[in-house]
Structures are given as structure tokens and as C-alpha cells.
């Protein structure tokens, strides 16, 4: 089965990103295809490499990056939601004249069309949020 995942909440504040991660990992381990993981609303905050959680806790951002690397996942952060919340990649940094970028490895910023495309292309779209 080809799956699309939508995540509407940021890390730590709400369990949505944890559930989505464990679901995605289980789906991959079962041999399903993850077409795309789309981060929307505060979910875009899952894509900043500047988070520093306590050492004895899970690192939600790094965990997504590692999963992306292992399975070649497409982790997409919504550009409009990202601009509101200060998630910046090198292109956005240049375009808006910011002094830094903060996007985590394995993530990319793109438009909302990517979510609709996932809906069209996938057998199932599963939404995680608050």
C-alpha cells in the first residue's frame, strides 16, 4: 500500500508527531511505501535542527531525519506554515533576507500542492494532529 502521512502538530507539545513516527516506522517495516510525510500547521516545527531535548528523552527531529535517511523518505514542510513559524531552508533564507536557516537534514520546504498530490497519489492518507 502507498501511504501519505499528514502531521499537524509540533514535537513534544502533543503526541501527534510521536504517533505518526511510530506508525510510519511500522508501515515501512511491513514493506509499505510511504509516498510522503507532509508537515502542516505547527507540525512544521518538527523540521528544525536547532532543537536540543534532554539527553534522556527521544529526539523527535533527529528521529525523523534518521528515518528519512534510512528509507529515503520525502519529508515535506509546508512553505506558508513554515514562514509563519520561522522554519527556514537556505533558499528561504536568501529569498527573505534572513540571517540563518534551521531546516533539519532530510526535510524540504515546498507548497501545499504537495499535500493534495499525496492525497491523489496514495492509497490512503492518514492524518495525525490535535
Amino acid at each position: 500500500m502507498k501511504l501519505g502521512i499528514q502531521i499537524n502538530e509540533g514535537p513534544y507539545q502533543h503526541q501527534a508527531s510521536d504517533t505518526a513516527y511510530l506508525f510510519t516506522k511500522a508501515a515501512l517495516e511491513k514493506g509499505h511505501e510511504i509516498f510522503r510525510v507532509f508537515f502542516y500547521h505547527d507540525g512544521v516545527n518538527n523540521g528544525t535542527r536547532l532543537t536540543t531535548p534532554p539527553q534522556d528523552d527521544r529526539n523527535i527531529v533527529a528521529r525523523w531525519s534518521e528515518l528519512a535517511e534510512k528509507y529515503n523518505l520525502d519529508l515535506v514542510i509546508c512553505v506558508a506554515a513554515a514562514q509563519r513559524r520561522g522554519i527556514v531552508d537556505p533558499d528561504e533564507k536568501k529569498r527573505h533576507g534572513k540571517d540563518a536557516d534551521n531546516i533539519a537534514p532530510g526535510f524540504r520546504i515546498s507548497g501545499l500542492g504537495q499535500l493534495i498530490e499525496a492525497g491523489i497519489q496514495c492509497d490512503r492518507l492518514v492524518v495525525f494532529g490535535d
Binding site: Q15, T19, F23, A26, A27, K30, R124, V127, D130
Partner: protein
Amino acid sequence: MLHTVNKSPFERNTLETCLQHAKDGSTILLIEDGVYAATEGTRFSDTIKKAMETKTVCALLPDLKARGMHEKVIEGIKLVDYAGFVDLVEQNERVQAWL
């Protein structure tokens, strides 16, 4: 069709709205704080038992365990892990997340 509910029924009306819109034969999966609805002896236990007459009710065991609720689950509720969650998504043609 699969419906997921992730809110405690004591805090929000998510479960109630889900049950209003879930047809007979559909499957309801309680996750995150939604798993409190899967426990015995609550104000909502009868609601769940009634739903179980026409629908399949499941709960995510890792979420029940994390909340210390896994010994209090209503008999007949199907417990699944994340792999089981994936299977439910595969078995149902569409998924509605009641957030």
C-alpha cells in the same frame, strides 16, 4: 471505514461526534488520550459497549500502557500495536481522523 479518535471523552466531544458519524460495520481506533474511553467503569463505558454492538472498537495498546490503563480495558475491545494500526489502515478503504 476506519475512524481514529485521539481525545479523552471527558475533555472533548470528539468520541461523541465520531460515533454519530460512524456507520454500522465501521472500525473505531482509540489512540493517544482517546484510549481513556476504552476503560471499564467510566461515564462512557456504556457508550463504548453500545458502539461495539454494531462497530468494531480497537485501542492502541502502547497508548493504554503508557497511561497505566491497560489492565482496565473493556472486554471485547481489540488491542493493537503500531503494526496493527497499519493493518487497520490497509483493511479499510478510507480513514477519518477525528482530531
